[in-house]
């Protein structure tokens, strides 16, 4: 049996059954050789995101997550809805119950949670204690997202997902303080490649489904959805009388957004079209951030896209790293 080795992750064997060939190709696709540059982008970007999240919510943190009678709606309703799905999903209720055993008030527990979240964000940005920081950031953010489930919006789901992937990825990366301090060996390039693939595939799902669902609405074809979304409080950053001057451009923009999203899973993979699609998607998110005031949503999407497709695949460097880690 002859075999031609293309790369450690993708053996294409001659004379194997089609199913086996497919399997090996699939494994090769799932475990490409990668350096950890993309992980550094994801880590530091999410560090910034977590810091922004904590700071933006600073003044309302207790008001949003306090129990009934002290806050806006009280976190009990959100927690009850979450518990109906599964009582194993973490919420602030867990932390408050734990704090009660330590004679801590609810207010103190919420303050500690906020400080922990902000600290985890700073540590992620610097690359210090990367793994514990990623776990803490994911856990506290998840508690906030679930306790305030009724108050959550798109950015929360993406933050949970991005932190979930970061927590499982092979940290620390070479640009982190951790690596500098511990002088640890570079991580397995195939594993780095796997987690990048996961992020890439996830974004393909996000845009394809988002684009498809938008295509099914008549308002995206005539521009009225763009109009409605841009004049909808509290997203009104551009005054309607300025916006109405571009009324003939809105249908074209609306259809372009749908096309851009639905075709993302195809054109983002081709080297020739990748840069165009990436730039367009990044521009779209930047515009959403600036024109609708959805800064956190825009930032998390930009970070995920940059980490997934913005950092070039450095196969040669990764092979060199692979050789070092294999020794």
């Amino acid at each position: 049996m002859q075999s031609v080795v293309k790369s450690p992750g993708s053996q294409i064997s001659v004379g194997l059954s089609p199913l086996r060939k497919f399997w090996q190709r699939f494994i090769g696709f799932l475990f490409p050789l990668e350096t950890d540059t993309w992980l550094a982008v994801l880590r530091s970007g999410l560090g910034l995101q977590v810091i922004g999240y904590a700071l933006f919510l600073r003044s309302d943190w207790h008001y949003l997550f306090a129990s009934s009678g002290k806050g806006l709606v009280g976190r009990e309703v959100g927690e009850a809805i979450t518990a109906f799905d599964s009582p194993l999903i973490p919420t602030f209720g867990w932390l408050v119950a734990l704090g009660r055993n330590l004679n801590m008030s609810e207010e103190a527990v919420l303050t500690v949670a906020w400080v922990a979240l902000l600290s985890a964000g700073c540590l992620l940005l610097l690359g210090l204690f990367c793994r514990p920081a990623a776990i803490v950031a994911w856990f506290v953010h998840l508690c906030a997202a679930e306790s305030g489930g009724l108050l959550a919006y798109g950015a929360d789901a993406f933050m949970t997902t991005a932190l979930f992937y970061l927590m499982l990825s092979p940290l620390p990366d070479r640009y982190s303080f951790d690596r500098w301090v511990t002088k640890a060996k570079p991580k397995n390039p195939q594993l780095l490649g796997f987690w990048r693939r996961v992020l890439q595939m996830h974004l393909c799902f996000v845009y394809f489904i988002g684009g498809l669902a938008k295509f099914l609405g008549n308002g995206w074809w005539d521009g009225s959805n763009l109009w409605r979304s841009l004049i909808r409080p509290p997203f009104t950053v551009v005054p309607p009388d300025v916006l109405v001057r571009f009324k003939y451009a809105l249908p074209v923009l609306g259809i372009s957004i749908c096309l851009l999203e639905v075709s993302y899973p195809i054109f983002i993979w081709f080297k020739k079209t990748r840069l165009v699609w990436l730039v367009c998607i990044l521009a779209m998110h930047a515009a959403i951030g600036l024109m609708m005031g959805l800064y956190l949503f825009a930032l998390v999407m930009i970070v995920m896209n940059l980490a997934a497709f913005g950092v070039p695949s450095t196969d040669r460097k990764a092979r060199a790293t692979s050789a070092t880690t294999d020794q």
Partner: protein, 198 residues
């Protein structure tokens, strides 16, 4: 090799669940009849949605361990909801107006509020959810809590009338003709504070 197999197995399960969640979301939109697809598709979409939710074990009882395990995983990975934001169409904005009635017959109008802009976005999210049918069982409780959050700042208030409704913005052409948004009330509640709550 063993580690690779574990990773591949996780990848398969993770993206299978994500596909089911996304499809359930899209089928739900079609089944609601809110898309440009012909109404004949609604029935198929309903069946498709059932199939997708079956894969997520949502048809099982609430205490079913498989259902709970899947739900826990979906929430911890942040993939419990599909990615159908602002689709198929941008929903109407919703408003909750609180009429604060004092003992001397005076009336003031207020809305629930927060300090920061990010939190204001979250409040908008909550108001949009109140209009959804699936939140109907908790609607009154939530409105009461929102009313109570404002009541705390106005201790002299005897009664609160909460009116919830959709704000329909003008279209582009209507806006050019000088039309403004319209308010369409959906429901209202009257609350009075008992002495022991004061």
């Amino acid at each position: 090799m063993y580690s690779k197999r574990i990773h591949v197995a996780w990848f398969g399960i993770h993206f299978f669940l994500l596909t089911a969640v996304c499809l359930a979301g899209v089928f739900w939109l079609i089944a609601q009849g809110s898309t440009i697809l012909p109404s004949a598709w609604d029935e198929y979409a309903r069946k498709g949605e059932l199939g997708a939710t079956w894969c997520l074990a949502k048809e099982a009882g609430p205490s079913n361990p498989v259902r709970r395990s899947i739900a826990t995983y979906l929430h911890t990975a942040g993939i419990q909801a599909g990615y159908t934001f602002f689709a198929p169409n941008v929903p109407s904005q919703h408003r909750l107006t609180l009429e604060l009635l004092y003992e001397d017959g005076r009336a003031e109008y207020e809305s629930p509020h927060v300090r920061g802009k990010t939190a204001a976005l979250r409040l908008e999210s909550l108001l949009d959810r109140l209009s959804e049918e699936r939140y109907e069982p908790v609607r009154e409780v939530l409105v009461k809590m929102l009313a109570f959050s404002v009541w705390r700042e106005h201790p002299g208030v005897k009664k609160v009338r909460a009116t919830f409704g959709a704000v329909n913005p003008p279209g582009m052409n209507e806006f050019e003709q000088g039309k403004t948004e319209t308010f369409q009330p959906m429901f209202s509640f009257d609350f009075s504070l008992r002495d022991d709550q004061k």
